[in-house]
Structures are given as structure tokens and as C-alpha cells.
């Protein structure tokens, strides 16, 4: 059920990328897709205990393992989130440049203005 909702979120973002006319809406849809993917990765790593994988003093590995979630997708999603911010900054820079060049954020207008 949770997987279906996350896939639906990704599909909403994909629909936004393909069908919207405004560049900023396309950027927003790409950010939605990225959120959905990060969520899917962390949800895959959820385990029985539901606790964070940090060892408190004096605990054995077996005790930690019985209550912890998977640390590996968390590490990957951590870097993915920060990279996603960098890519969003780049996309906004592109959008600002497009606004400077064509005076509008509308893709159909830009296509018309290019001749």
C-alpha cells in the first residue's frame, strides 16, 4: 500500500514534467519526483524495530541489529538529497537565464519567439 502511494507520487511528478507549460512548474515537478524516490529508498530499508542504527554505549551488535533499520539506504539518500538541492539550484539558474532571454517562463511562448 505504501509502495503504491509512493509510485503514485512519482507518477504525479512525471505528469507534471510532461504536461506543464511553465518552466517553474516543471522544476517543481522534478523536485516532487526526487522526493518520491528518496522516500522509496528509505522505506525499503525499514526493519522490524524501527530505530535508528546508532549504537549506544555498551550494546552488542546483535542487540543493535534486532532493533535497527537498514543504514545503507539512509546513507545513499543523504547524499542524494544534497545533490538534489544542487541540481535544483542549477535548474533555477537555467530558468532565470531563459527568463532573461525570452522574457517569459512559458514554454509555448519561447517556442514561438525562437522563430
Amino acid at each position: 500500500m505504501v509502495y503504491c502511494l509512493i509510485i503514485l507520487l512519482f507518477a504525479v511528478g512525471l505528469y507534471g514534467v510532461v504536461s506543464q507549460r511553465n518552466v517553474i512548474k516543471v522544476v517543481i515537478s522534478l523536485v516532487i519526483m526526487e522526493h518520491a524516490l528518496n522516500l522509496l529508498l528509505v522505506v525499503l530499508g525499514y526493519g522490524k524495530g524501527g530505530a535508528a542504527p546508532i549504537r549506544v554505549p555498551g550494546e552488542s551488535p546483535a542487540a543493535l541489529a534486532s532493533r535497527a533499520v537498514d543504514p545503507f539506504p539512509q546513507a545513499m539518500v543523504l547524499t542524494a538529497i544534497v545533490i538534489g538541492l544542487g541540481v535544483t539550484v542549477l535548474m533555477v539558474a537555467i530558468a532565470l537565464r531563459l527568463y532573461q532571454r525570452y522574457g517569459t517562463y512559458d514554454i509555448a511562448e519561447m517556442r514561438r519567439l525562437r522563430g
Binding site: 517553474i24 549504537r55 541489529a65 539518500v77 539558474a93
Partner: protein, 212 residues
């Protein structure tokens, strides 16, 4: 917990649909901020505080940057969807994507399945319907992580010791993306593109960087 997650996901879906369909750009950006915050809450519910902290901050910075791009411009509202062939194409694409996604999701283990255990080579009992154990390397990380690396936070140990190469790649990608953004927004000669064909502006090296 699953109920909490389901409620949050429904909230995220509603705000995603709102963000895409709202006419005013500022409201769409604010709906995106709500989406990011709900996403951080669900990371907390999933036992990932290491991920929830940067998610909140990245959401805030994304909000600031998007508002900077949309506030104070002439275009504050959008004019809707593309032409009809675009809509038909996008619906067809979504149906295709949905078919493949449902097929793939059938192979995933159910939420919160067998969990972690601390012996790296012990076979894991998989629930029926799952073909693989998605946590396979992590049994080793949990068992050996704090002793071998000396760091109690397993996620940091994975990021910086077991998977340090990926972190180096991440630093490189971040550097490249931000250098691209800086190059795109440099000072140019102030030529106004007066011709409708857009032939007036000088060609800028930023257009090559936009492809990266």
C-alpha cells in the same frame, strides 16, 4: 506506524497535485514546501533522523531559491497545460509507467519484513513473494561497523568509510552542478534581444553548461 506513513503520503499526494495545478506560482512553491516537510516527518517515522535533518534544510533552501525566482517577476500565474496531443501523450506515458511500476512493486518485500541481524553470512528468511533481500550488505555494516571504524553512527560509518568513494563522487557532482549554476549567471553584455527571432543576444558559453 504504517498508518501514520499512509496519512503522510496522502497529504503529500494532495500537496503534489495542488503544487502542479495551482495557477499562482507562489502558492505552488509553498505547496512544495509542505510536501518536503511531510517527507521529513515520514523520514523521522521510518527511523532515519540522519536523513530527516538535511531534508528539512534542503526543503527550506529550495523554497528560498524558488521564491527568489518567482517573486517580483511579471509572470506570476501560469496558463495551464500544453496542447491536446501533449496531454494524450502524457496520459499514455503514465499508463505505460504504471504497468511497469506495478510489475516491479510486486517483487518488493512487504514493509518492515525480516529486518536486520548481525551475522553477515546467515541466510535470511524471506517473506513469500520477495525474491531478494534488500538489506544484504547491511548485516555486515551493522555487525562490524562500530568496531572497524570506531564510529557509533552506522550511517556515517557507511558514508565515509565503507562507501567513501561514493561520497567523493557526491562532492564532485555537487561541485560541478554549482559551478554550472555560477557560470550560467555571470555578467554579460547588456544586449536586449529586440528581434523576435532572438538573434540579437550574443552566444554565451552558459548554453553548453546547461546540457550537463
Amino acid at each position: 506506524m504504517t498508518d501514520f506513513l499512509t496519512v503522510l503520503l496522502i497529504f503529500m499526494l494532495v500537496s503534489a497535485v495542488a503544487a502542479i495545478h495551482m495557477r499562482s506560482l507562489l502558492s505552488a512553491v509553498i505547496a512544495l514546501g509542505a510536501l518536503g516537510f511531510a517527507s521529513a516527518l515520514s523520514f523521522l517515522a521510518l527511523g532515519a533522523p540522519d536523513v530527516a535533518i538535511p531534508q528539512v534544510l534542503v526543503d527550506v533552501v529550495t523554497l528560498v531559491i524558488l521564491i527568489r525566482a518567482t517573486l517580483g517577476r511579471d509572470v506570476k500565474t501560469t496558463s495551464g497545460l500544453r496542447d491536446t496531443s501533449g496531454i494524450a501523450l502524457s496520459v499514455a506515458l503514465l499508463i505505460l509507467f504504471g504497468i511497469f511500476a506495478i510489475q516491479a512493486a510486486r517483487h518488493l518485500p512487504p514493509l518492515g519484513h525480516a529486518g536486520m541481524h548481525a551475522e553477515a553470512n546467515k541466510p535470511v528468511s524471506l517473506p513469500p513473494g520477495a525474491d531478494f533481500d534488500p538489506a544484504a550488505p547491511s548485516h555486515f555494516y551493522i555487525e562490524k561497523g562500530p568496531e572497524v571504524t570506531g564510529s557509533a553512527n552506522t550511517v556515517t560509518a557507511v558514508l565515509l568509510d565503507f562507501r567513501g568513494y561514493d561520497t567523493l563522487g557526491e562532492a564532485t557532482v555537487l561541485f560541478t552542478a554549482l559551478v554550472g549554476a555560477v557560470v550560467l549567471l555571470r555578467k554579460r553584455s547588456r544586449s536586449v534581444p529586440s528581434l523576435p527571432s532572438g538573434a540579437g543576444a550574443p552566444s554565451s558559453p552558459g548554453e553548453g553548461g546547461a546540457a550537463s
